[in-house]
Amino acid sequence: MSPRYFLRKLGQALFIVWGISTIVFVAIRLSGDPVALMVSDTAGAEEVQALRRAYGFDRSIPEQYLSFLQRVSRGDFGESLRFNLPALAVAVDRLPATLVLALSSIVVAVLIGFPVGILAAIRRNTLFDRIAMMAALLGQSTPTFWSGLLAILLFAAWWRILPASGGETWRHLVLPACTLGWFSAAKVSRVLRSAVMEVLSADFVRTAHAKGVPQSQVFLKHVLPNALISVTAMLTLEFQLLLGGAIITETVFAYPGMGRLVIQAVGTRDYPLVQSIVFVFSFLLVLTNLLVDWLYPWLDPRIARDR
């Protein structure tokens, strides 16, 4: 594998981060007076003036853009209006909770999606396959904020076996992680099913069968590894969707992560905090993308050779 491939992917990731910063800058400028977004409604005219000078909003647009990029690269998004602390620190403080939620949801999705997808592919067009795929379509059509409400209703309100909200113990994680994971399990099973079916019809599988390799060996050594390649890419995408989904799920279950915080921050017009959380989320998305891009040639050597 050439180092050029790694560098190119890194460059691409940096380009995306730059692009996101630029979008945010343009968005702030288009909003009119950016200082008005940063201060509370009770702020006096002097305070506004001081901020305007401190952030350089009295200078020209290109100058402002450059200083904006400088501050972003230092991780300086200003102070959170509500917490009176550096906004980025407030955001990062809630990051572990969100990561734990997203990762456990992926685990749930894999635990449900893998067996169902593989079985459905092997028993194609049987009753199991049909029911599984119908359930998957239903799962994909059900928004997490509704399945979450139903889960609270059943497990917390009626049966009282799990807590409805909060995030102190692992028991608080079960409902949000299952709600979120259930939704992606639907897609995981569908993608894995078609990936396995595609590999099953490949020439090398027929050859393996023809030379008398036992069924289980063909499946474990030839079919599964190849099918998992395309699923890996999908799982990254899914992890990214789960990070986004965490914003909704955390709100449903009052789970103390970054997602719930950002919605509260929009509500209280805590703009520096909104900005830094949006950045942290974007950064995570770009980072996971980069990691998978880097891992991919190792999973599928054809990629590095082709490019």
Partner: protein, 288 residues
């Protein structure tokens, strides 16, 4: 699946029971969206506080005057669901059309204007990876305030990418094909070739993508309204109804159940139609 294994699509498959149910559901929901006042006489925005938390008809305390019960402000749940159909379908519909137009134009331009434009447009599409819908919606809501316009803007700004990628990819592969080269040799202008030769070949794939994205957008709109960034109270919407219901789920479960049924029924119907369209129009997309 290899192409040889794809069973030939039969026109009769369009008329399956699932498809029929899906069409009926969508017709009913569209009727609600167009003329809700013909469906129910109850006021979706105002209720009587004396009548709050009435359960649905058939349960103790419920009555046929409020078939699905009332919410915490005494508003008729059924009426709110009926009136809530409009923002869902409207936002989804407008956004799909705008995102499609934007994406197809960007894809055609990227594929036809040459390398510089291609790099710029596809670079912008790449940036979208790091800035998905909810982040866009949150940023916009913080800047221009929450509301339907925020929902539509965020959906369009993030939804155009698949159309652009697809159109560009098809365009690049088709440019090499004989019928396009023949059209060029015959003196067809780039615009004419795009509209008469390339677009017709992409339309069926685009239709399938648009159908699934319509379903996705209905979910996203209700998610935004659930988070309080979309439709604003007291206007009824399925998402905000569920958000209200969260506060009194233990006392009034029906307020949290039926708006969700409306979302799932609508989205599932669109998805079922999408699946059938995919089978009939474009076998290549199978398994995606």
């Amino acid at each position: 699946m290899t192409p040889a294994e794809v069973p030939p699509s039969k026109p009769g498959r369009l008329r399956s029971p699932g498809m029929l149910t899906a069409i009926v559901v969508l017709l009913v929901v569209s009727w609600w969206a167009v003329a809700p006042q013909l469906v129910t006489t109850a006021n979706p925005m105002r209720g009587r506080l004396m009548e709050n938390f009435r359960p649905l008809a058939g349960f103790p305390g419920g009555s046929l005057s409020h078939p699905l019960g009332t919410d915490g402000l005494g508003r008729d749940v059924f009426a709110r669901i009926v009136y809530g159909a409009r923002p869902s379908l409207l936002v989804g519909g407008i956004s799909v059309v705008l995102a499609g137009l934007l994406g197809v134009s960007a894809g055609l331009l990227a594929g036809y204007l040459g390398r510089t434009w291609d790099l710029i447009l596809m670079g912008v599409a790449d940036i979208q990876i790091g800035f998905p819908f909810l982040l866009m919606a949150i940023t916009l809501a913080a800047i221009i305030g929450p509301g339907l316009h925020t929902a539509i803007l965020a959906l369009v700004l993030t939804g155009w990418v698949p159309y652009a990628r697809l159109t560009r990819a098809e365009l690049l592969s088709m440019r090499e094909q004989q019928f396009v080269q023949a059209a060029q040799a015959a003196g067809g202008s780039p615009l004419r070739i795009m509209i008469h030769h390339i677009l017709p070949n992409v339309v069926s794939t685009l239709t399938v993508v648009a159908t699934f994205s319509f379903a996705q957008m209905i979910i996203l709109e209700s998610a935004l309204s659930f988070l309080g960034l979309g439709v604003q109270p007291p206007q009824p919407s399925w998402g905000s109804m569920l958000s209200d219901a969260r506060n009194y789920l233990t006392t009034a479960w029906w307020t949290g159940v039926f708006p969700g049924v409306a979302i799932v029924a609508t989205v599932l119907s669109v998805n079922v139609i999408g699946e059938r369209l995919r089978e009939v129009l474009d076998p290549r997309l199978r398994g995606l």
